[in-house]
Symmetry: C2
Subunit: 241 residues, 2 copies
Amino acid sequence: MTYCVATLLDTGMVFLADSRTNAGVDHVNTFRKMHVFERPGNRVMVLMTAGNLAITQAVVHLLRQQASDPDSDNLHTVDNLFDAAVQVGEALRTVHHRDAVALKEHGIDFSASFILGGQIHGEEPRLFNIYAPGNFIEATLDTPYFQIGESKYGKPILDRVITRSSSLAEAAKCALISMDSSIRSNLSVGPPLDLLCFRRDELRVLLHRNITADDAYFSMIRSGWSDSLRHAFHALPNPEL
Amino acid sequence: MTYCVATLLDTGMVFLADSRTNAGVDHVNTFRKMHVFERPGNRVMVLMTAGNLAITQAVVHLLRQQASDPDSDNLHTVDNLFDAAVQVGEALRTVHHRDAVALKEHGIDFSASFILGGQIHGEEPRLFNIYAPGNFIEATLDTPYFQIGESKYGKPILDRVITRSSSLAEAAKCALISMDSSIRSNLSVGPPLDLLCFRRDELRVLLHRNITADDAYFSMIRSGWSDSLRHAFHALPNPEL
């Protein structure tokens, strides 16, 4: 399984992905699910993936291949994020065209979803959620975050805390707490984590950190949040029975 | 949708169910999902339902019908909770036998799940989770709660707080916080709620309360928990970016 979350803020964007992938429970492995397409000063784009690993790897491979051809329309040359999302959708459809029938013959769903966020020179930062058929939605003022994968355990804290005016640091903290809830409740979500932030209009990655299970800040967040929840729980009065 | 949770404690049991049922999003209505089978001094049993309402109502109808026939093996006469879970499973299979083919012809899954918990004179309190095929699992020392329905949003707080040694009042508070998380993140879960507790060896219902959206204690829990989470969030140090 996978859990990825991206927040779109007034001051920039924050992305967090786990890296645990499993086929069943006996083939658990570590794969990066966060892919960066960057031309510093011109654009920064982050693509996160969930679903069937063979499908999402094929899509990313295709996008990388296209991006290395300077004459093609690709993630390094499109002039807005909407067109970038179209490119991802097209790559998905290419892989679907090639693999979907064979997958179906083996009883395997064509499952894949993507978060694409970033900023291209001349535009605002934008955030998209791309579905298996290659269609997509864009985050608006009312939706400061998107999630893919095992998203439910970590949704309540996002709903309570994140707004467009949250700072990058607050959004990173909230994403890590949200990830912690997912890790605790679902064995198939796990570290190491990929955390990435960029500041609005800087058009380059500000921070891209690999967070392992023994990372000091993440360990503090994990134990500190648990303690805070238990303290908050016991501080609320019990009902009279 | 539905969210139901039951906790099995050293000192008794706590059950909480929402009452919102929807077919699509335009036929939302209120239906009780908590059903009590009680012979005070001899047994107290609580059955909570999730899934297709026509199926779960048919199962409960069948169980009530059997329970009114004193000569049959039924929930009022079986002498242990395991046999009670078998009865519920049998009722499910009867309804499956009658309805499953017709449902399939209309492209509708036979979806239904049940939580059955209680105590019968001569036994410990026991808790079961019964699946659509009529098979079931029983809670052990390591599993102080079961959930059915839209369970993921409300699972993290249960995982962090509930143990067998929690008090009835703490478990009721935790169940209400867990329900609040589900209600906030999923429109199709909603009040009024059914809260029921019994004390170990009393063999009767201690409390069965209908909690509406404007219930004073539940309102306090909702706003108090939100405030506590936001406070705890801001009290944790931000990461350095």
